[in-house]
């Protein structure tokens, strides 16, 4: 079994009309045994920026702590919040620092930039950024998620419709994946 499938995870982010939604499952497992059903995978960096981390749970928590630290220092020094694109570059740089002993995480970033233009992106565990205009997925259920999002997604959805769409996409995909599930967390901004 791959190290990325040790704990199980499912993450998806979608772009709507001047809004974004990011959703994750809630299962924390140790291979086939479920040990928690309330595991937090999506974290708030600031009011308009959320990061979801899939993969090995310990790396999820450590990486989030490092990123929160860097962002808080940035806020104190520069007296402003980080733009999503800037934060994406920071995450990418941090992941690449560990090129030969990486964090086993695939982040999904979602944020609102200047003028509330939504921004989403995902990365592999070494920091290769993938920007998208519609949706990004990550985790053990990613293949099902790709299929579900591709069929359910429409551009320029309002927040309520976006919430429905992302929830349906997440729930139907995790149903087909034994390593993720047990409900979901959805954030719509």
């Amino acid at each position: 079994m791959s190290i990325f499938e040790y704990n199980g995870s499912a993450l998806v982010a979608m772009v709507g009309k001047n809004c974004f939604a990011i959703a994750s499952d809630r299962r924390l497992g140790v291979q086939l045994q479920t040990i928690a059903t309330d595991f937090q995978r999506i974290f708030k960096i600031h009011d308009k920026l959320y990061i979801g981390l899939s993969g090995l749970a310990t790396d999820v928590q450590t990486l989030y702590q490092r990123l929160a630290f860097r962002h808080k220092l940035y806020q104190l020094r520069e007296e402003r919040d980080m733009k999503p694109e800037t934060f994406a570059s920071l995450v990418s740089a941090l992941l690449y620092e560990k090129r030969f002993g990486p964090y086993f995480c695939q982040p999904v970033l979602a944020g609102l930039g200047d003028d509330n233009v939504p921004f989403i992106c995902t990365m592999d565990c070494l920091g290769a950024k993938e920007l998208a205009k519609d949706f990004v997925v990550s985790g053990t259920a990613s293949e099902s998620l790709y299929g579900a999002c591709e069929s359910m997604y429409k551009p320029n959805m309002e927040p309520e419709e976006l919430f429905e769409t992302i929830s349906q996409a997440l729930l139907s995909s995790v149903d087909r994946d034994c390593l993720s599930g047990w409900g979901g967390h959805v954030f719509v901004v």
Binding site: R77, E78, K83, E85, T86, S89, L90, A93
Partner: protein, 235 residues
């Protein structure tokens, strides 16, 4: 001075609470060639005298105003070699910031880091403070900005400032002439007039240097021909 016992050890405070070496560094700045900066509503201008030690020096090879990034420029008063070291370090820091965040470094951050370098050299063993004060001019998301950094490592944001030999006259002149809604062109004229005040000899495009940055966020050092045009307008 009664502080003479403490005046050559950098890292020892004198009983009056001063670090005398820094005071001496400020003297070095005060005997350097005059330089000044003015922040306009839509840009910043920095200027300096370029008095060369002899007419045989090729003035095109001397450049006192330098770029730290494409949108931040700097001029100094004091020891030119010290300023080159600082500018080199700052250029590197600016690029490191870009490499991490893929975003141009804000002017205030670069000034902070440059000032931190200067402060390091007032609290380490075996080094001396930098004998320069820098005027940093830049344009970023917070608009046009002008900062002065001293050998002690302290920095201030200014609307208009001068340093070097003629500092008190220049500052008085600037105080009288400065208005908050000045345009960049007016600021250049004011800068030239201020330099002219204390200038010994005939001012021309070859013995002053001017750098400007406007809303296009590209710092530009004016060629001597353009300076001569401005000089003609001022006459």
């Amino acid at each position: 001075m009664g502080d003479s016992q403490y005046s050559f050890s950098l890292t020892t405070f004198s009983p009056t609470g001063k670090l005398v070496q820094i005071e001496h560094a400020l003297m070095a700045v005060g005997s350097g060639q005059t330089s000044l900066g003015i922040k306009a509503a839509n840009g910043v201008v920095i200027a300096t005298e370029k008095k060369l030690p002899s007419i045989l020096v090729d003035e095109t090879s001397v450049q006192k105003i330098q770029l730290m990034t494409t949108n931040i420029g700097v001029v100094y008063s004091g020891m030119g070699s010290d300023s080159r070291v600082l500018v080199r370090k700052s250029k590197k820091q600016a690029q490191q910031y870009y490499r991490l965040y893929k975003e141009q470094i804000p002017v205030a951050q670069l000034v902070r880091e440059t000032a931190a370098v200067m402060q390091e050299f007032t609290q380490s063993g075996g080094v001396r403070p930098f004998g320069v004060s820098l005027l940093v001019a830049g344009y970023d998301d917070n608009g046009p900005q002008l900062y002065q950094v001293d050998p002690s490592g302290s920095y201030f944001s200014w609307k208009a400032s001068a340093m070097g030999k003629n500092v008190s006259n220049a500052k008085t002149f600037l105080e009288k002439r400065y208005t908050d809604d000045m345009e960049l062109d007016d600021a250049v004229h004011t800068a030239i007039l201020t330099l002219k005040e204390g200038f010994e000899g005939q001012i021309s495009g070859k013995n002053i240097e001017i750098g400007i940055i406007g809303a296009d966020r590209k710092f530009r050092i004016l060629p001597p021909t353009e300076i001569d045009d401005y000089l003609a307008e001022v006459e």
